[in-house]
Amino acid sequence: MNVDTTHIPKKYEDAIAHWVKHNFQDLPILDKYWDKYFPTDDAFCLCAKMDLSTSKTIEVGDKKGQAKAEDPSELTEEAAKHLLAIIRAQASTEFGSIQQHQVTLERSPSDQDKFWVLRVMAEELRHGYQMFHMLTSRNWEKLAGVKTEDMVEDVLAMETGSHVLEAFNLPYDSFVDNVVFSGIIDRVGKYQLTMQKVCAYRPFAQSMPPMLREEAFHLAAGVVPMRRWLEAAAQGDAFITPLQIQKSLNKWIPRGLEMFGDERGGDTNVHLGFKDMKNAEAQSRYYAEVTKLLRDLNLRFLRARYPSKSPEDTERMLDAIVRERSAIDGTTYDDILKMPHRTFFRRRGEPAFLMVSVEGDPIKDVEEYIRHLAQVLPSAYLASRDMSQYRDLIRRVAAGEVTPEQAAKKSPVMKRKAESVCPCSKGVRWVDTDGAAEKLPQVATNETPPGGATFHAP
């Protein structure tokens, strides 16, 4: 990888700085304690990174073998508009996840978990910055029909509830969500970034490898705490249980599956050379990977609970519990993490608004289905506006008042975007065209952290 770094124009950096002030208040803490938690790692750089070694030739699609576009003007109007929608959605996810993480970050049970998530958030900010580089380093105005400032403004104005993808519109209920989201939803991000490495628009393709490199740790920031929590649960810790983790998985995995797009689609991306896999194929690979991840987590749990059992005996025990759905040596089927069925709790795509149990069994009665959801989803999430709206919609689908397709278009009920979204009184826009500077927080210099101090939430 031959990486070049660059910056976006100052007025957009200022807009991000202003956004950080309102949405990512803990960013300066990462700077202060970077060397304590990531002592040998390079300093964080809020900048755009371009992999210059990326292929100059289109790798997939109708124009395979031709030169990749270096400017939007070299794309057809259809392709440019399609790509612009992808960039907007990608940018939305980056800023959206920070807004979600920030709310429950302080509830982290350990400082390490907190700083790992904090680093994830900072790198998501860099990914958002990267997408702004895509929007601001070339002229999209003719194609988009709006000014560059307005495209940036549009993304920064989004809040939890008004983002492009549903996974970024659900508030976190607890720090379990911070961790499960990193392990489950960021994994979809890995697949999208990997597919986009071939993109026929070269600046976008060049953006992917550095983002992927950072995304790998984001997944670990989800998986490692889950493994540790399961170990503790196996040894008797009653605070974070497999059941709590399972319920959070049931909340996020359906949203993750939908992030791949409708199972019947994805052809356009491949034809245009923007991605190298269709939606269903990518989703299937993701589903298989998460299934394997859950098996590994179960093995971690069982080996901690039965340290004298051999690895082979533990695997046999896990297989028997799953196969027979019975208790063995005190471990029940409910103690084991299970992959929700692909059609469970879906609102988009082929199985949208089907009423099936978490294990894929059809449920005919809508009230019975709602009671099932109440059993398998996190209790704090059940009390959310999102669930209230979903319950209303599924009842209307069951009554034949709306079709699943119509319901899919209504879900989620987005927050109405206000004209002025910045909460401070200084201005009505994030992008200040009058040039009132907001200083961008300096992130992760190599300052020496306070020696020997035990860090607790400041």
Partner: protein, 151 residues
């Protein structure tokens, strides 16, 4: 059935490899150390996932090589590729799996501007020392020294 190295695929390290790496280490050392490997895999993933590799056979991880690229240590200013830990499932050794992972790492190291690959070896571990010699490692002017503090 004999396993040909050609069936083995080598790819960058990922979070989902933790369990398999822990298992390979357990087979080699006889010790189950999940916490240790969780920390090490997280460390290498945040450094550079491309600089560490795993080998897969029929979709199963059968080997790993954890490494990174760094400089400025031990008075060495030049950027070097450092291999810290590696292992291959004992049941399928001798099939060129370690060599494949090493070759992939060398390609990556060259690509990011490193001119040298370094590691430390306990010469009492003859199998490890033999492997490193076979892939081209030779004595270095840099010698590991130690002093016991228990005297």
């Amino acid at each position: 059935m004999p396993v040909e190295a050609a069936e083995v695929t080598v790819r960058p390290l990922a979070d989902v490899d933790i369990e398999a790496i822990t298992r390979i280490d357990e087979k080699v050392t006889g010790t189950y150390r999940p916490d240790f490997w969780e920390d090490r895999v997280a460390y290498y993933l945040r450094r550079d996932p491309e600089a560490s590799r795993v080998a897969e056979l029929d979709g199963r991880v059968v080997g790993f090589m954890l490494a990174d690229v760094r400089g400025g240590e031990f008075g060495l200013e030049e950027t070097s590729g450092w291999i810290e830990r590696f292992g291959v499932d004992p049941a399928i050794r001798g099939k060129g799996i370690g060599r494949k992972m090493f070759d992939a790492l060398v390609t990556h190291f060259k690509g990011v501007g490193a001119h040298r690959v370094r590691t430390f070896v306990d010469t009492r571990q003859t199998e490890t020392a033999t492997f490193l010699k076979a892939v081209g490692f030779g004595p270095s002017a840099l010698t590991a020294l130690e002093i016991s503090l228990d005297r």
